[in-house]
Assembly symmetry: C2
Homo-oligomer: 490 residues x 2
Amino acid sequence: MPDLDPEEFRRLGHRYIDWVADHRAGLESRPVRDDVEPGSVRRRFPTEAAEEPQGLDALLERVDEVVVPADTRWQHPGFHAFFPANASLTSLLGEIVAGGLGPQGMLWSTSPACTEVEQALTDQLARALGLGEAFTHPGGGGGSIQDSASSAALVALLAALHRTSGGRWRETGVTGDERVYVTAETHSSLAKAVRVAGLGERGLRVVGFAPGTRTMDPHALAAMLEADASQGLVPAMVCATVGTTGTGAVDPVREIATTAAPYGAWVHVDAAWAGVAALCPEFRYLVDGVELVDSFCTDAHKWLLTAFDASLLWVRDAAALPSALSLTPAYLRDSASDSGAVVDYRDWQVPLGRRFRAMKIWAVLHGQGLQGLRAHLRGHVALADELARRIRAHPMLQLAAEPSLSLLCLRVRTGGAQLEDQAADEAADDRATRSLLAEVNASGRVFLSHTQIDGRFVIRVAFGATTTTRRHLDELWTIITDPVPPTTLR
Amino acid sequence: MPDLDPEEFRRLGHRYIDWVADHRAGLESRPVRDDVEPGSVRRRFPTEAAEEPQGLDALLERVDEVVVPADTRWQHPGFHAFFPANASLTSLLGEIVAGGLGPQGMLWSTSPACTEVEQALTDQLARALGLGEAFTHPGGGGGSIQDSASSAALVALLAALHRTSGGRWRETGVTGDERVYVTAETHSSLAKAVRVAGLGERGLRVVGFAPGTRTMDPHALAAMLEADASQGLVPAMVCATVGTTGTGAVDPVREIATTAAPYGAWVHVDAAWAGVAALCPEFRYLVDGVELVDSFCTDAHKWLLTAFDASLLWVRDAAALPSALSLTPAYLRDSASDSGAVVDYRDWQVPLGRRFRAMKIWAVLHGQGLQGLRAHLRGHVALADELARRIRAHPMLQLAAEPSLSLLCLRVRTGGAQLEDQAADEAADDRATRSLLAEVNASGRVFLSHTQIDGRFVIRVAFGATTTTRRHLDELWTIITDPVPPTTLR
């Protein structure tokens, strides 16, 4: 038998676990990002795959040689870029069990455990987040685990297209009249979903911000919906974002849902990063109005201690996704599915196959409890609050956006005595901000990313790596306020 | 810090590895499928998630109680249903390293190692499968790892729609005139991709079989393409299947590609299950004509010893997928991407985020070598050949489809003395075949699935589980030819 026998796997598995433990324990002795020349990793591989087995002990040496020095370390406590990707050690234990079981949960019958653990845990999480019983499976809705919020947005859109077509979409496709409403802060995955679904860029309508905010203006939405509907266009979906990628802005879900309702548009909430924070009562405002929407998505794999990929998508109507997506060829028909007593999750997603992703979420819930998860979330929010406090008090720095949970944006304030020339001042500030970001990242001790606000360059700080603590905030502050040249780490 | 510290992970990780080793070693003492009542797993979970941590040692006990007795065991050596899902222990080691590193490879810069290992290994595999240099990254094409062949088909279709629209698809979406050509044996994921892309069922054209086969008739394809084109419809994509799900039929790729070429249609090869067998010179016929196609997909996670999900998709034009799918918001712009010297794999797929899936494929290639992989594939093909030999010699059984690699279909032949009433004979045979399948599966020792051929019910046997050997073929034969009542295993 070509695969390892279980005893050899036991020996090697212990070694591999030790490797992971050592790697994680040693993360801080490495830079957050290596300085990698494009092509340098590929060149370490021979053109042809080896004919003979090379041994799995030796693989770890190759990984140490080739991979470890050429990576961006998302699990490093100094990683504050993009959004976090919490590949917690807790969740890795769940992945090990999932891999050991190795089911393929496309149908209930192909792994009842895989399907029902997912149902049970998404029900528990719906309650813990305050989504309400309507989003649970017993309540007539239900949750599922998608690979990413991008895919969640896509399937929500497909359900929306099917519903707003009166059920004709499956047969006749899109008409080109369907419109999807977002803002300039909405994640690019919505534009991608609109494109994938065949609507083209003309299918995307960008609603303006309410004055002085970066959140969707319900009045502007109302006007746009009315104008479109009066021209015979079809408002298919409105996406409200809870915690935008750029600045963490929170769209007014309740007002958006109320505004969209008369037009029959599907309302999807993309709370990919921020939604999990609703586990804490003080952040429950994040799900205000959710009882009025059709679908709600938040990622366990960003900030809920769960290794990518595990995006949670709830719908209020359990039939919505299967109505749009089901197909049953002969080789997939079975009596359990025909009975209607079970969920076949392949009908909730684009791929047919599925891993037992619920196992890693179970490990997280079991290993941390809701208390542990709340402590994790609150810890990072406190870091952002503290950093904001320091920025406000600093003469050369400025908050470009107030903190939203554990995210904030800052810029350099060069002094700007030239009040007569605001554009020149802003350009100087932007140059200084770019320069600061480059210097800070060159330290190797932290990694920050950037975005634009009103056309201006700003530095984004998103706390959330599993091991980031107050000490790392202090280190970040030191580096920001006194940038150091690239260290000997490199 | 709420997550495990590395030392606690080390201790628990060893325990979890031991659990996996014990579970795999004990698989044969359990039935392939448990008899599960719908809802019985969900009911074992409390309504609310626990507030306090419950401990990760205790989780394994819960898994033993709740999950293990309620599963379908895809890794059991008696699992011969659907297609295999090779969650090899070898590949699990790769997943452990990937989880330990925990990168998110959406951009080259967010994990150069994740991106370049994927490039290097898909290049090696393109060569090992005989796809030719055109499908490698240095050759101007390139491979990627998708979650599933369904997603691979979808992105190939999106690239096809973009190309056949002359680049207008991104802006204006589909027109409704696009057509996609398949056969009645094509996997349902193609119909799903057509639906997702907004073409509706009318976008799918089912080409007839060549006489006496279950493979696409190039003459029928030619006629359909010509008729459609002359009506102003747009042949967007033709999907040739190498190893259909039902019977393992192999469409004539070369003739199909030649036929499609004058119409500018994208030619996609779905070789999800069978394609990997082209690693063996004697099965290299599976990729005949591939130099004429635009994309080729085969799953490492079915029959190539790699845990789900890892579907390999190669394209001949590396720009095809990014041209259709790229979107660059401010927060994802970076200098490496802008330089054009690197691949950003987010533009090759629907989701934005991606795991380090190449690590598990590396473990398989490193741990097995091409020799080990060929031995694995050949072993299962030999089992199907031997089973076919026995069926041919058996008075009450009949091959409903000749073996294709490790897959065959069989039916019961009840005797059929009523030559004057063929329909009655066939109905009697079908009833007996259904009854045999039910009895065989009720044994708990093996699990077979079924399909339809020309409207008739047949039993499918797909060898390919990592641990299935000659002994398991003998056991299957005993059960088929002398069905036993449900054993005490249950």
